[in-house]
Amino acid sequence: MGMIDPALAARFRALVLPHLDAAYNHARRLTRDPTEAQDLVQESYLRAWRYFASFHGEAAKPWLFRIVRNTFVSMRDKRGEATAPLELADVDMDVGLAELHGMSQAAPSPERVLMEADTRRLLEESLDALALPLREILLLREVEELSYKEIATILDIAIGTVMSRLARAREALAAELRRRMKES
């Protein structure tokens, strides 16, 4: 590339470092463990810096998040922990969808109850209870506010799959909220 090292580092500082908080927050919610989240982000940045010469000025955040995700999968693999849920086939999630649709007509809207006090914890718990791919896509969209196209890049799936998985994730979250509200 002909770019000298300090220039590369300055570019990395300007483009990739500003997303450190976002990467960490995402890692926290993905791993649900502060220590694992720190390791994940540290390793991801190491890889990002190593691959940075091949970064060609596309949006930096999706680029970094894709590395975070791949690092997450490989770290869990190394620890012998199945990441199968992350690769969960989307057809698997169709089961129970019809049932969810039926339910959503009945109970009072759980989403709107969220507006009330003390329901933040309820959302946190419901989110944590979701299967990893559903939690992941909700975080990318609702917390990181990434576009469908950017999410497709990060997860390496088609935009159509982003839309259907996101719809399933929202339904599953609403169902989880409803279930917990009934319990409390």
Binding site: M3, P6, L8, D21, N25, A37, Y45, M115, R170
Partner: protein
Amino acid sequence: MTTTEMDCATAESLVDAYLDGELPVAEALAFERALESCPPVRRRLADARALRAGFQALAYHRAPAALAASVENLLPQPARRPAMRLDAGWMRMAATILIALGIGWLGGRYLPLPTGGDETAEIVAGYLRATMAERPVEVASSDRHTVKPWFSGKIDYAPLVYDLTTEGFPLLGGRIDLIDGRKVAVLVYRRNRHTLALFTWPDAARSAPTMDHRDGFAIEGWAQNGFAFRAVSDLAPDELKQFAAALGARLEADR
């Protein structure tokens, strides 16, 4: 685009895409019109909005300081060259004296780039902003007659615009940046895979090109034809000099 009515079932299926900002404008407008006659869609939209508000209220975990430090340690540390700092007032006076002595343009060789504050750092930051943006230019054209008028009304002067394609530096277009709190015209050029940004603003003094370096970027600064120029790039210094010489020749021809 179609202006036909959207039925409630269609609208209901588009609630998420609408709220996610993923609908094309015409469809979003049709969706909004459909809302008036589709109460169930309005309810679903309210639900989706409430859920979004819930997410926005979630705690955001900031990276711990130790993590930020260890990530910073992965990178080579920038070499901080001790630079002689002169205050702007003194520099203006010195420039006046030099011009009075009749060695006006030679002064540029020995003086830091004029204006107060760390101009070089601001130029480099402006360059990075141009290269990090999704589109490095706000007006994309290699035609100077398109780029030049674009600046009118956006800044308080008309920059000199040249396309240097024949010299190996095609003009990509223009953008606006802030240097020293002032809106400044930036012309963006390409050289092979590298981007070159040219910052330019009115400056009556004439000064010969001087080169500065910061964090691996080269900055060539000079003043000519009533304008100051700062060319910045990650190109090799020789190529940047080549650019400055090519532009200088064009300016000289138009003087």
